[in-house]
Symmetry: C2
Subunit: 786 residues, 2 copies
C-alpha cells in the first residue's frame, strides 16, 4: 500500500438521516473489501446463488474490486486490465445507502502515463425483482482522450476460498454447462457438482454518451468457465461516458420457470431500462423500511448500526424468500463460514420477523416442517422416538455437524461433540409457539405447528431416563448452548448431564405441546394421534416427566449450568486475559496448551442466562413451580452475576443475552452490553470472523433488544404487553409492529408512549401497558404517560 492510498483511509461515519454508511479506504479496495463493507450489497445476490449451491459460494465475481460485477477496462497502450496496484489512487469514497439499497463508489486515480480517470459506480441487487442486479459506471477521462477497451464477463470459475480453515475442503463447486451470446446478451449456465442445481446468468452491457447509446463492435471471448465480451469506445477529456450492465440470475430452484437459462434470458430481455430498474428497486426498499425501520434517538451511531443490521437481515431473508425452501443460515449469505448450515440462530432472528413479516417466519417454520421426516429418521437411527432435528442441518435436513474440528491455534484436529446440542429442537419449538402467540394463526398450528411440537416432545420424552436415586427424570449426554462444555473432565463419554437450560426448556416444551394439541380441534387431534402413533398413555408420560425433570442447583437459588458444574475448579481469568489478547475462544487456547476448557467453570456463553432471556420472571417461576422447584426471582441478578464472571463471551450471541437479562436490574450494564453487541460485526470484534460472514443472530438480536427488551414487549394470553424500561441513553424510540394482522405504530418518547393504528379494517386487539388494559380497534391513537 503506498502513502497516497494510506492517506485515503477514513473512519466510518454517519451521514444524513442514518441510512448511509460510508467507509473510504484504499485498504479495503485491496482485500478486506471483498467482504466488508462491499458485501453489504452482495447479500441478496449471494442469497440467490447460495440457495442454488446449497453451499455459500465465492462472491468474488460480485464484489472483488476492481473487477466490480465482472466489469473492467484498459486504456490505450495498457497491457493489463485495470489493476489497482498499478495505479495511484487520488481519491476514493464509497457509500452504502441503506434506504435505497445502493452502493456507490467514486474513485479518482492516475496511471503511470499520468492519465487521470474518475469512475463513479452505482450498484444494486434488486429488491423488486430478486433475479436482477446491475451496475452503472460513470467514466470520466480527466486529462486525456483516447480509446477505452471495456470487458464485461460472466464468470463460472469462482471458488469457495473465503474461509481459510476450510482450505482442505473442496472449493470448486460449479461445472460449466453452456455459455454463449445471443444478440446483445452474453449468458452462462453452470451446475453445482454434487447437488445438480442449475444456475443461469445473463448480462447485457450498453454504453451511453448522454442519452445516446454508442454503437460498439463486440468481440466474444470464451475461456474455460468464463464468457466475456469486449468492446471499445472513444473517450474525450472531461466527457462522461456511462456504462450500464444489467444481469439476470435464475436457478433450477426458482418458482414459475420453465428452464433456468431461458428464464434468465427472458428476464433480461424485458429489462432494458437501468433507471426504471433502479427506481423499482428503491421503491421496494422504501416499502420495506416503512415496516422494518426502528427510529432511535441516542448518542453515537446506534441508529446507523440498527439499520445496518436490519438491512443485512433483509438481504438474507425477505418477502422474496417466503415460500422458498430456505432456512436462515448462521452467517446469512454474506460469507462462507459454516457453509450455509442451519443452526439455532433463528431463535434470535424470529422476533424481529414475527412482528413484521409473519409470512416469512411461517415459511421458515415450514422449512423445518419439510425436514421433519429427516429428523424422525435421525431419531430412529439412534433408537429414539419422535423427531430429532440436527444441530447443523444440511439442505436435506441431514446432520452436518462435524465430528472433528480443526484448532487453528494448534493445527490439530479434535473430536467435536457439539452435535449433541439437542436444544436446537427446543429453539424450533419455542419459535413455533412465539409465531402462534404473535399471529394467532391457528391454521398453522393445526396443519404443521402441533405436529412438530408433538414430534419434538416425543423425542425429548425418549431421551429422558428415570433416576431411582433422585426420583426424578434426567437428560444425559447432551451439550448446552455453552459449547465449551462437551464432556466431563477426562471422560471418554461425550456430553454432560442435566443441562439446566435443556431440562427447563423440555418441561416448557411438554406443557406447550399439550397447549398446542388442545388448540387444534378434535378432527386434527385424532388425525395426529393416528399419524404419530401417540396415545393417552404417552401424553400422561409427558406430563409426568414435565413435572419431575431434574434441575441442578449450585446452592439455593443459583442454577447449575449442568450437573456437576459446581465441582469444576475456577478458571484463572485474570492470568489468561493478561496472557492473550482475546480469550473469547478459550477452548482453542487451552487445547493448544494441552489443557481443556471442559475442566473449568468457564463458559463460551452462559447458557443458564438463556432462561432469563427467553422467559419473563413470572413465567420462569411458574415453570420451576410446575417442576416442583421453588425459584425466587430475586435471585436472578445473583445468577447473572455468577455466570457473567465465568463467561468468555466467545459467541456474538452472548452479549445480547447479557444485555437482555441485565435490562431490568442494571440499565447501565444493559446499555453497555447492547453497545458491545451492536458493534460486533461492524468492528469485527472476534478478529476475523466477520469477513467469513456476518452474524445473523447477533444482528437481529441487537435490534430485538430495542424491539422487545427495552420496551417490555411481550405477548401472553392473547394480550400484547408493554412495559418500557429504557437505558438513559435512549431518549426516543419508534417502530411499526404487526400484531395479529394489525399494523401498530409505537412511539416512546420521554415518559410517553403513543400507539397508533391506521388500519380501519383492523380487528380489535388487547394491549396491556404495564397494568393498564385497553383495546385498539380500527383507526385510533392512544397516548399513555408513564
Amino acid at each position: 500500500m503506498n502513502k497516497e492510498q494510506e492517506g485515503l483511509r477514513e473512519a466510518l461515519c454517519t451521514l444524513g438521516n442514518g441510512y448511509f454508511a460510508t467507509r473510504g479506504a484504499a485498504e479495503e479496495a485491496e482485500a478486506d473489501d471483498v467482504h466488508y463493507p462491499g458485501t453489504y450489497l452482495a447479500g441478496s445476490y449471494n442469497r440467490l446463488k447460495s440457495e442454488v449451491a446449497g453451499k455459500t459460494l465465492e462472491n468474488e465475481d460480485l464484489v472483488n474490486w476492481p473487477n466490480w460485477l465482472q466489469l473492467s477496462f484498459r486504456l490505450d497502450g495498457d497491457k493489463n486490465w485495470f489493476r489497482l496496484e498499478e495505479k495511484q489512487v487520488l481519491d476514493y469514497r464509497q457509500e452504502l445507502d441503506f434506504s435505497e439499497g445502493i452502493l456507490r463508489r467514486e474513485m479518482h486515480f492516475k496511471d503511470k502515463k499520468h492519465r487521470e480517470t474518475k469512475i463513479t459506480s452505482t450498484r444494486l441487487v434488486s429488491m423488486a425483482n430478486p433475479h436482477l442486479a446491475c451496475i452503472k459506471w460513470e467514466f470520466t477521462p480527466v486529462n486525456w482522450s483516447g480509446p477505452v477497451m471495456m470487458r464485461s464477463a460472466l464468470d463460472g470459475s469462482v471458488k469457495n476460498e473465503g474461509v481459510k480453515r476450510y482450505k482442505a475442503l473442496s472449493s470448486k463447486h460449479l461445472k460449466i454447462i453452456e455459455q454463449g451470446k445471443t444478440n446483445d446478451i452474453i449468458y452462462l449456465l453452470v451446475q453445482t457438482n454434487q447437488s445438480r442445481i442449475y444456475m443461469a446468468q445473463a448480462a447485457r452491457c450498453h454504453v451511453y454518451s448522454g442519452n445516446k447509446k454508442l454503437r460498439t463492435n463486440r468481440e466474444i471471448l470464451e475461456e474455460e468457465g468464463k464468457i466475456s465480451e469486449r468492446f471499445s469506445f472513444q473517450a474525450s477529456q472531461g466527457k462522461t461516458v456511462t456504462i450500464e450492465k444489467i444481469i439476470s440470475v435464475s436457478s433450477s430452484k426458482d418458482r414459475a420457470i420453465n428452464e433456468p437459462l431461458n428464464s434468465s434470458l427472458e428476464t433480461l430481455r424485458n429489462e432494458l431500462d437501468f433507471s426504471a430498474l433502479k427506481a423499482r428497486h428503491s421503491e421496494a426498499w422504501s416499502r420495506l423500511w416503512k415496516q422494518f425501520d426502528i427510529t432511535l434517538k441516542s448518542p453515537g451511531n446506534s441508529q446507523l448500526l440498527l439499520r445496518l443490521h436490519i438491512f443485512h437481515l433483509l438481504q438474507t431473508s425477505s418477502m422474496h424468500t417466503i415460500g422458498r425452501d430456505v432456512g436462515i443460515p448462521a452467517r446469512g449469505w454474506h460469507g462462507e463460514a459454516y457453509r450455509g448450515h442451519i443452526f439455532w440462530d433463528e431463535l434470535f432472528i424470529f422476533p424481529l420477523l414475527n412482528y413484521r413479516l409473519p409470512d416469512l417466519t411461517h415459511s421458515l417454520l415450514l422449512y423445518r416442517y419439510y425436514r421433519l421426516g429427516a429428523a424422525k429418521k435421525l431419531a430412529e437411527k439412534e433408537g429414539l422416538k419422535g423427531a430429532m432435528f440436527p444441530w447443523q442441518s444440511g439442505s436435506s435436513g441431514r446432520e452436518e455437524s462435524q465430528v472433528i474440528h480443526l484448532n487453528p491455534k494448534s493445527g490439530k484436529w479434535l473430536p467435536d461433540h457439539t452435535y449433541l446440542q439437542r436444544h436446537v429442537n427446543l429453539a424450533i419449538a419455542y419459535n413455533i409457539w412465539q409465531y402462534y402467540e404473535v399471529t394467532a394463526d391457528r391454521n398453522f398450528m393445526k396443519f404443521y405447528g402441533a405436529e412438530m411440537l408433538l414430534e419434538i416432545a416425543h423425542f425429548f420424552a425418549s431421551i429422558t431416563t428415570w433416576s431411582e436415586f433422585r426420583q426424578r427424570y434426567e437428560i444425559r449426554n447432551v451439550v448446552g448452548p455453552d459449547e465449551f462444555h462437551t464432556a466431563y473432565p477426562g471422560s471418554d463419554e461425550p456430553g454432560i448431564n442435566n443441562n439446566a437450560y435443556t431440562n427447563v426448556m423440555t418441561s416448557w416444551l411438554f406443557s406447550h405441546a399439550k397447549k398446542a394439541f388442545e388448540l387444534i380441534g378434535t378432527t386434527r387431534q385424532e388425525a395426529l394421534k393416528q399419524k404419530l402413533k401417540l396415545d393417552d398413555r404417552e401424553f400422561s408420560k409427558w406430563e409426568e416427566i414435565s413435572r419431575k425433570l431434574y434441575v441442578p442447583f449450585i446452592k439455593e437459588g443459583i442454577i447449575a449450568q449442568f450437573e456437576g458444574y459446581e465441582q469444576l475448579p475456577e478458571f484463572d481469568w485474570e492470568a489468561y486475559r493478561e496472557k492473550y489478547q482475546s480469550i473469547q475462544r478459550l477452548d482453542r487456547i487451552l487445547n493448544a496448551e494441552g489443557d481443556s476448557v471442559n475442566c473449568y467453570k468457564a463458559s463460551k456463553q452462559a447458557d443458564v442466562l438463556m432462561l432469563f432471556y427467553l422467559f419473563s420472571a413470572e413465567e420462569l417461576v411458574q415453570l420451576f413451580k410446575d417442576m416442583g422447584y421453588q425459584f425466587n426471582p430475586e435471585r436472578i441478578p445473583d445468577n447473572i452475576e455468577y455466570y457473567v464472571s465465568r463467561t468468555s463471551d466467545g459467541s456474538t450471541l452472548s452479549r445480547i443475552v447479557r444485555s437482555w437479562v441485565e435490562a431490568r436490574s442494571d440499565r447501565e450494564c444493559a446499555w453497555h452490553c447492547f453497545r458491545e453487541a451492536i458493534v460486533s460485526d461492524f468492528e469485527d470484534v472476534q478478529g476475523g470472523t466477520t469477513p467469513e460472514g456476518i452474524h445473523m443472530g447477533s444482528m437481529a438480536g441487537t435490534v430485538d433488544i430495542l424491539q422487545r427488551c427495552f420496551t417490555g414487549l411481550e405477548v401472553r394470553d392473547n394480550v400484547l404487553r408493554l412495559n418500557p424500561y429504557f437505558p438513559e441513553e435512549i431518549t426516543s424510540l419508534g417502530m411499526e409492529i404487526n400484531y395479529r394482522g394489525v399494523w401498530l405504530s409505537l412511539e416512546f418518547s420521554g415518559n410517553q408512549c403513543r400507539i397508533k393504528s391506521r388500519d380501519g379494517a383492523a380487528s380489535p386487539v388487547k394491549i396491556k401497558f404495564r397494568d393498564q388494559l385497553f383495546e385498539i380497534k380500527g383507526k385510533m391513537i392512544k397516548t399513555i404517560s408513564y
Copy 2:
C-alpha cells in the same frame, strides 16, 4: 379377443360401503386398461412425474398390463416374458379400493403348456409419502412346479403417446443421465429434454416364501434407457410366493432434498417393510376421507361415483401439493390431453377444496401469484395495463394456447381464437374472493390477494372502450366460456364483443377489487398503490366503468350471450342430432361440412348460465342494478330454457352448470343433469376423451353440486348460509366442512339438518339456516327441522 375372455366381462358394480369399484374385463387388460380404470392409482405417481416434466408423461411403466410397474416373469421354457395374448385367461378381477387407495388384481390363466398360474397383485402409490410406490405379487402355480424367472425394471424410455392427435408433436421427453445398481437397489436418473428437470427412481425387489426371504442371484441388464434386474426362484405347486417391489421417486423440484438420485436412494434405504408402508398409506387415506367423504343415500351408484371423483381429485391435488409450485391441470395428472396446461378449471374445483383444505387453495392461488409477473408482461406486450393471465398457462406462466388446431373430423388445421378467453382472469379473481369468504384469511388478502385483484382489475379497465353511441363501456374481441363463438360470421377479426358473462363479471371484479383494497389496511394500501402505480383517478375510473358496462339483451329479461347473438340464425338441432351420433363437438362437424358454428345460435356450453351458477339471484339482481340494468330474477328460468335448447353440451362442465341452475326451479331436471354429469368420465360420454385424462373440473364440480347447490351452502357477509333443496332421489347427505378454521359436520336427513362442531377450541361462527341465524361455538350440536 377369444371367447373365454369375452365371457369374463362384467359390468361395473358397487361393493360393500361404496368405497370399491370393480371392473373385470379381459378387454381392458389389453388396451383401454392403460388409462381406465387402471389409472386410478397411477394418479399421485403421475403427479410427481408430471411435475417433473412440466408435461404429462407416458404412464406405461406404471399401468401397462401385464407389465405392472415394470414387473414381469416367464416360466421355464418360455421364450418371451409374459404376454397376455399367449395365455388363456380363466379368471380376472380387479378392484380399486378408494378407502385405502389400493388397486388389487387377480388373474388366473393357462399357458400353451397347460400350466395354470394365479397372480394377485396389490399396488399403491403412497399417500403417506408421495415419494413411494409399491406392488406386491402373490404368485401361485396351480398345477405345476418349476423355476420362474422374474424381471424388475426401471424404464426411462417412456414416450408421450397417449393422445392420438398429438402424434405430430414430440413424444420423447426424457434423456438418461445415469443408471446402475447399488446393493439390492437398481436406480435410474433421467432428465427432461427442455426444462432440465431431473427425475430419479430407485427400486428394490424381494421374493418371499411365507415370511422367509428367498436368496436369489441377480443379473443386471442395462438397455438403452432402461435398467432391469432378473432373478429366478423355484415355484412349487400350490405354494404361494410373494414378490414385493418398492419404488422411490424424487425430482429436482422436490423440497428438502440434496440431490434427486441421492434422495430416492436414501428414501428407499429407509423403506424395507412393505406392510408398514401399506399401513401408513392406508391410514393417510383414512384421514383424508374423514375430511373429504360425502355420504349420500340415493338410488344407483351416485355414492360410488362421488367417491371416485373425490379420489381422483385427491390423487392430483392433496396436502402433498401444498406449497409446491403446481397448479391444477384440466385433466389432472391422469392423461396427456392439454399437456398439463392450466386453464380456468379451478373455478369448479376450488369450492370442494376451500371447505376442506384451504391451505391447498391458498397454495393454488400462490401458483397464480408467482406468475403475476408473466401475466403483467403479457398485458404489456399487447399494450395493456395490469396483469393478463393467459388462457392456457405453461409452467412459467407464459401463454401456451394454440393459434391453430387440428380438426380430427376433417384432418384440417384451423385458426384458433380461444386464447381470447380473458375470462380466465375473472375466474382467478372470483376464486380469490371465495377463498377469502370461506377462510377470512385477511393476511392472504394483504400479501397476495388484493395485489392480484388490483392487477386483474387494472387489466380489464385497460381493455374496456367507451362507446359514444351507447354511452356505455364495452369489452370487444374476446371469447366467452362458450368456445364455439370465436368470431362473427365471415369476419376476419377474432373474437366477439360484449360477452355478457365477461362484462357482468368484470363489473363484479371492480367492486370486489375495491372491497379487497378496503380490507388490507392503510400500510398495505399505500405500498400497493406505489408498487402497482395506481392512483385515486384510476380507482374512480374503475368505479365509473363498473357502473356503465354494457350488457346485451335479446329481449326484455333475456340476456344475450354477446352483442349480436340474437341476429344469428337458429340451428337445426333435430336434423343434426339425427345425422350424427353425437353433436357435442358441433364445431368440428360444421367445419368439416364447410360451415361454421360461428354462424348459428349454438353453444358448446351456455356461458350466460355461468352467471346463475356463480351468483345467487339476489347477488345477480344487485350486480345488474349497480350496472344500471333492471334484471328480474323471475326471468332466470326463461334464460335457462332459452340457452339450454341452444347448447350442444360439448364440454363436461356444461351439465354441471345446468344441474346447478335448474336446482331451484326444476329439481327433476337438476337431478337428471347431475346424473349425466357424474357419469361423464365413468362412462366416457365424450367417446374417447377420458382415456386422454379425466376431467378434473367436471369431477370436482359434480361433488360441489351436492356440497353447495343442493344444500344451498353459501358464505356471504361473514355468515355461512344453508338453504337445502334436495332432489327427491336424495334421502340423506352428510359431510364435514371447514369454515373459518372450524370443522363442522353437516347431516341432512328427511327434513332435519344436524350441525355438529367437535372442536372445543373453535372460535364462534355465524350460521344462517334459511331465515334462522345462530352461532356455533366450541363443542356443540344444533338440530334444525325444516
